[in-house]
Symmetry: C2
């Protein structure tokens, strides 16, 4: 083949389910000169990253590590390290990522009990209790923010349930971390994983993982080796710990970028950041509803960083997305699995969560819908602006 020309990617506005827009200072950090993975300078970067991750996760856990893979690698890290063949796990399934948890757990040889509620709904902890059927489990697994449905799961009561079942509490915080409150220690979460490309607004490629002291003990007492060498936390911990034992070559430049994105999160402050996500989401919701569009998730269970919207009757969802991308350089997401073709997913995550993007998205969507003959009921912009103004923006 002829050698391709150098890349010159378009500057999109990323309002899909991730990646989100990356701040210029994060892109600059990504392009900083590569140093060696055992360079004293880099060891300091690692220490900083770990300390900042602990602050963002609100935990004091010693084992707090950005894994060298995307969010799904973080999920797999938790399962392969904490499960042994024959272990029983209880998994909440109300979307793609709960389903994926079951699949990954089965590949570890676990006996999986799925707790199911319809996609688009959150769980009541009693639904888990009932499905547990009085048995003991190794893990209780729950998705905090279901990226496929836009549902935020209230985690109150899950620590108590895990205690009743003799289980560790594992939480998927891929789409929540940095966008809504995650209180790892206060909520008694034993193991958590996240991704960098959602509300942390770092490019995709790393997955923060943290384990409680209690979980670390389970890892130390395993009867069999962890089935994945690449994701074995007992080995990786020796590189991230004081020993600095070589395991694999860390993705240096990606960790520079994570360093800068965590810096931005902490400089803004977690509370201010969560409030920003909430205010812009409410403005978006008001605008979408003003247009006559339906938000299938109930208000109390709605995830601020990612909004699911039903595609109106007679509108082709892919055509609308193509219109937004071609005309406005604006990306929103389509539905996953059984929701494919039926919904859009609009992200307001991290650096993408701005009043400007709310306005842009509502205007562009309005225009794309009109092009397909759908007439918005009311003016979305004044509805959104009303919310923003009432929040002092």
């Amino acid at each position: 083949m002829a050698t391709p020309l150098p890349l010159d990617p378009p500057t999109r506005v990323l309002m899909g389910p991730g990646p989100s827009d990356v701040a210029p200072s994060v892109l600059r950090a990504l392009a900083a000169p590569t140093v060696g993975h055992l360079d004293p300078y880099f060891l300091n970067v690692m220490d900083d990253v770990r300390a900042m991750l602990r602050d963002v996760l609100r935990t004091g856990n010693a084992v707090t590590i950005p894994m060298s893979g995307t969010g799904s690698a973080g999920m797999e890290t938790c399962f392969v390290n904490l499960l042994e063949p024959g272990d029983a796990v209880l998994v909440g399934v109300n979307g793609v990522f709960g389903t994926r948890m079951c699949e990954v757990a089965r590949r570890c040889g676990a006996k999986v009990t799925a707790v199911e509620v319809p996609w688009g709904r959150a769980f009541d902890v009693d639904q888990f209790r009932k499905a547990a059927d009085g048995k003991q489990y190794r893990l209780v697994c729950v998705v905090h923010a279901e990226t496929s449905t836009g549902v935020l799961q209230n985690l109150t009561g899950f620590r108590g349930l895990a205690d009743e079942l003799g289980a560790l509490l594992l939480v998927d915080a891929v789409t929540s971390l940095g966008g809504v409150a995650v209180e790892m220690d206060e909520w008694g979460i034993d193991a958590i994983y996240s991704g960098t490309q959602k509300c942390l607004s770092c490019p995709p490629g790393l997955s923060p993982v943290s384990l409680s002291a209690c979980t670390t003990k389970v890892l130390q007492n395993r009867r069999s080796p962890v089935q994945s060498w690449y994701l074995d936390l007992s080995l990786i911990g020796q590189y991230w710990g004081t020993e600095r034992v070589y395991h694999h070559t860390a993705p240096i430049n990606m960790l520079y970028a994570l360093h800068e994105s965590l810096r931005l999160v902490l400089s803004e402050g977690l509370k201010a950041r969560h409030r920003r996500h909430r205010v812009h989401a409410e403005a978006l919701w008001a605008g979408l509803e003003a247009m006559g569009l339906k938000l299938p998730v109930a208000d109390g269970e709605r995830l601020a960083p990612l909004t699911v919207v039903e595609v109106p009757e007679g509108v082709n969802e892919a055509t609308v997305r193509k219109h937004l991308l071609d005309v406005y350089n604006l990306e929103i997401g389509g539905g996953l699995g059984p929701m494919k073709g039926k919904v859009w997913r609009i992200g307001l995550m991290g650096h993408s969560s701005t009043a400007r993007n709310v306005t842009l998205c509502l205007s562009a969507l309005s225009s794309a819908l009109r092009a397909q003959g759908y007439q918005p009921a009311d003016d979305p912009l004044s509805a959104a602006e009303h919310v923003l103004a009432s929040c002092g923006e």
Copy 2:
């Protein structure tokens, strides 16, 4: 903790065992605006990357994919996809990475037969044949370039051996790809993995993997699911193939960087690039030997991109490395495993393989050794320059 200041990494010269120096245009590509992982622009980037990877690997294999993890993830990808519990594998062990192959294969439930020769030596194919003991195997595994010892393995005869044993031929090309000839199709390699941070001079974080058509069939006929969901090529292939089925969020910006680094490799031309690595390595070897230092690997088995040098009697190897880093911003590597403290590893990989770096390294090493009371026997620079001049540089 107080939020750290923004990063400002030093500009090192990277002459360790990887990462190598990254070209400015690759760093610029890394920092290009992030787009979505299903963006039509990005799908073209993926197609280009795959086509260029095939050219660099000298293969027409359909399944040719940069995995979303470092070289060790590529190793694990090959083993988890190709092995099922109880399978017999034959692994050449003459350094850290052959040892790691055994460990990863065992974690897949395989029965591992190790073929051992002393560290620092290459194999004769008959040593594999003898160790095979007339039995049949699923995989014959060999490291093309042992990063821990600086040994290049001649792969002639391994295809024939694999055929005798009913096996697939798996090759670790982490430190060879882009620096010395790798002829995947011509040499009959069934499965190969590499890393981006060695002779491709892209930052660490991706691992190119390629499987022959025959290997793909083995994957399709598995009796059990691949134990890793994250590395399951039957799923990942659907994203990299024409179906574009979502599996995990690809590390967008890292793939921009790989695109640019593959472009640079192909623009230079493989033959010219291999020659460049060879010429600079020979100049380095001449200079090191002029100083009276010993190269433990025999000339015919020596790896051009990575040279192992014995630490002279009475010299503290870590002090020398610290001197090079502190005074010259120059990184070279220490020994791994049983060679720790006894050798240095000097890389001339990809963008780091320049005449200027040969000169810098020899001068700096000379100075650091003198500081410890070691007197170089002869002038290393004129020895190196003689080689360069005789090669027209």
